[in-house]
Symmetry: C2
Subunit: 155 residues, 2 copies
């Protein structure tokens, strides 16, 4: 096949296959991770919110910022935070600069639980990813996925 149509079509196909592969690998890894004992006490999605808060320098994040990182609707995140708050793992505070906003932060208990689960979680990840790819391949995968994420985030 020759000409721009053929080239465009194969570019489209490559993009589709790349996404498909990325998606399936994510499913395969996530399936293993979430079935581990680390998430008996707390579902993965709830852990992810604790984790996101733990990584943030100020220790506080707006709900809409968290919502960007997580594959959940706004309302689902709101209720997920309800559950975390009822368990005493996070705290809601009014945002100082925006009367509509809510700041979320970890409580001491939330921080402890995040660390406990996190340690085991990281071990599980290493056991799955470590044997699969060399260090260089991991660095390259990290670079490519970060580049993709950044591009997609900026529309």
């Amino acid at each position: 096949m020759s000409g721009p149509t053929g080239a465009a079509s194969s570019a489209v196909r490559l993009a589709a296959e790349t996404w498909e592969s990325l998606f399936r690998s994510q499913v395969a890894v996530m399936r293993k991770l979430q079935s581990g004992p680390a998430f008996k006490t707390l579902p993965v999605k709830e852990y992810d919110v604790l984790f996101t808060l733990s990584k943030c320098p100020s220790g506080q994040l707006r709900l809409n910022e968290i919502n960007d990182k997580v594959l959940l609707s706004q309302s689902s995140l709101s209720r997920l935070v309800d559950r975390l708050e009822k368990r005493g793992l996070v705290e809601r505070t009014a945002a100082p600069d925006d009367g509509r906003g809510v700041l979320l932060s970890l409580t001491e208990a939330g921080s402890e639980l995040q660390k406990t689960i996190g340690r085991e979680h990281v071990r599980d990840i290493a056991h799955l990813v470590g044997p699969a790819l060399t260090s260089e391949e991991q660095r390259e995968l990290l670079r490519l996925t970060e580049k993709l994420r950044a591009s997609v985030a900026g529309h």
Copy 2:
């Protein structure tokens, strides 16, 4: 830092960061894709089952095979298939070689709908992934994620 402890810890950290990046990029892309008009008529997860069937050479798959590809519990998949069946998009058949098994196949309507949504979906993917990574980078990302998936699938 020197010695095996330092090296091991940095290997663990690299694996964790790689997974984190892969996961976040998947979230970012999926969020864009599923909000597109292609999935107004059919949720992404249901489309994914039609797509999986469409790609399979025999045109038939066991439910447990489909379950490996999708991040859903066995019971959720069973009900998802109920919905597809009620809409006349797929058909359940008894597996010939295993009295417990169910074979799933696309109906004509299911195949049509898959193609219609699929065309738009592929375009959306190309618009997101194409500008983000060069062709070579996409091929490398495809290779790395496929290698990861294969390794994880084989325990």
